[in-house]
Amino acid sequence: MTTNTTSERFTVPIGPQHPALKEPGAFRFNVDGEIVTSATVRLGYAHRGIEKLAENQNWVQNIYLFERTCGICSHTHATTYCLGVEKLAGVEVSPRVSAIRTLVAELERIHSHLLWLGVSAHEAGFDTLFMFGWRDRETVMDLLEMISGNRVNYSVNILGGVKVDVTPEIVEQILAGVDLLEERTKHYLDVVSTDAGFLQRTRGVGVMTREQAEALGAVGPTARASGVARDLRVDAPYLSYSDFPVQMILDDRGDLEARFVVRLRELFESYRLLRELVTHMPEGELATRMPRRIKAGETVSRLEAPRGDVFYFIQSNGSDKPARVHVRTPTVCNMTSVVKLALGHQLADVPLILAGIDPCFSCNDR
């Protein structure tokens, strides 16, 4: 490791191994005292070559591959892939399948945002919020375990349908769980907006204006916190979102506080949607037959993951293996903004700025 002992600046490495990072990524910040003067990022520590691997496996095996692109948005990846392949094959799934996929997607969003709340609070040094948030995250993980058998990486999708069904007992538990979570989320929103110590660390920190967000191509709650109105569930409803619409949550401040507020308020929308969805579950069969070889063609499949929009470009040449699958995950778009935003801030703000975009390095690196 080279050391740089120039008196004005030296390089503080955050990563690839660092307590601030839950996954590996190498950031190098040149600091002058405590102020960051320049920053670089090096990714690829979790690069597994998933896109290339997909070309050697058949369409069904690839579901299990894409699910594992990420742990916390695994359902989104699998669903995007399945929707794309079903479109290519010209197969229509029943409304019940879409509803169950939407249900799990929203539960995943709740899981992801609660996890993020805890992790960001930990980065700020507010361990009490971290512990409380993760205690409540257990509720949503129990719900997901009840539905799918797994607490993380639920794997409910198959080509043409879903593997699990939602019974009345599950519906009852979901309603009870959502009630509890809503009450707790109200409390967290209150804490995040009014706790003086926390606001000192988040208000006015890491501000990204609307123009910057649009220029850097930010997506997801990070962009919505800067006033950029992009949410695929509203702009181009997929799955059951046309029957059960959600409202877009925007905030125009663009600082860390706004990012917290946007994600927490999105949770309320998810709770409302879940209640409506489970009480008005459409009927239908759980799986439709899919051909082994998918017709030749290309398709673009996009879904709103908890971190932003996921973009899949799937090309088939008529065989039982895909010709090309290109995955663009939301964190790739948001990562450039971290490097730009960190400049001029104190070193202590950097982990929070990084956590503020909700980075998922596994998604990033594929």
């Binding site: 601030a20 405590e34 512990m131 110590g197 104190q346 950097v350």
Partner: protein, 306 residues
């Protein structure tokens, strides 16, 4: 001074081994109480002891490019400072082992010796995290030291002495200075948290920013000694504040009860707040900390004059 009792005092009681074990016990109490506040279980009673035993058994890695003598000596000096400071405080509710006029100032500086050793240990290495951590440790030392010292001198002025045993006796005579000098008490508690680098003043060892701050390169014996030093500092600090402000620690039971109550309050403050950035810590202390303690002194002077 009897040599045997001197050595016994230094090695066993009240300083030395018993004090080290008390330090570990208080550390456990701190962690367990914090866990209860955060709705989780917390460690079992022997966890800090197990940590220290494990660390002592591990290899001490001396990184490249450091001054080897300093690297090995600094933890020892820090722990020695904390243990020596304990000799002058009314630990366990008993009279201090040694006492002389002006020993309050000496004790405070011996306590700061540990922080200074940590700062030096951090500067000794080439590691970025240690350097930033050392800078923060020393910056924090400059911020809370003055208000904290003034807050402890408030009772000294009231008792008319700078000798810890006399101030403790003065408070034991039923004088609850936390009621008559509330601002000073507040600054003393919060100052103690700053000294011990407890959240929200744990910027010097902010895990999510600079790994472990000044102690990042330490492992094995050196780290164990620093941790023991911190435990001792906790006990000594609690004893001082309890003895001065909470009506003295006339006997072991009172000592235990009062220090634990104080610990409870400190742990509540730990759980409630977000970590402050180092510039916010400095700003807080030099603005509000110093202001409060000066107002307290002003009140004391005015009341004294009247």
């Amino acid at each position: 001074m009897n040599t045997v009792t001197t050595i016994a005092a230094l090695l066993l009681f009240p300083s030395g081994l018993i004090l080290l074990l008390s330090g570990l016990a208080f550390e456990w109490a701190d962690r367990k109480l914090l866990a209860q506040y955060q709705n989780r279980l917390g460690p079992r009673w022997f966890q800090p002891l197990a940590d220290v035993v494990k660390l002592l058994a591990k290899e001490e890695v001396v990184p490249e490019g450091v001054n080897r003598t300093l690297f090995i000596a600094l933890p020892i000096a820090g722990l020695a400072g904390a243990l020596t400071a304990a000799l002058y405080t009314p630990l366990f509710g008993l009279q201090p082992a040694y006492s002389f006029r002006g020993d309050l100032i000496v004790t405070l500086y011996l306590l700061s010796l540990l922080t200074l050793c940590m700062g030096l240990a951090g500067s000794n290495t080439l590691d970025r995290f240690s350097l930033v951590g050392a800078t923060r440790t020393l910056t924090q030392l400059f911020s809370y030291e003055a208000p904290f010292m003034l807050a402890l001198l408030g009772p000294a002025v009231a008792a008319g002495s700078w000798q810890i045993s006399e101030i403790a006796d003065y408070s034991s005579a039923g004088r609850y200075l936390l009621l008559t000098q509330p601002l000073g008490f507040l600054v003393a508690i919060v100052g103690l948290m700053g000294k011990l680098e407890l959240p929200p003043f744990d910027a010097p060892e902010a895990e999510t920013e600079i790994v472990a701050g000044a102690l990042t390169e330490y492992s094995g014996r050196g780290l164990a000694l620093f941790r023991l030093g911190k435990g001792v500092e906790l006990v000594v600090g609690l004893t001082l504040v309890a003895a001065f402000y909470m009506g003295g620690v006339a006997n072991p039971l009172l000592w235990l009860v009062k220090t634990l109550i104080l610990l409870l309050v400190m742990v509540a403050l730990q759980a409630l707040f977000t970590r402050l950035r180092i510039d916010q810590t400095v700003g807080l202390w030099w603005r509000y900390g110093a202001l409060l303690v000066l107002v307290q002194w002003l009140i004391m002077v005015l009341v004294g004059l009247l």
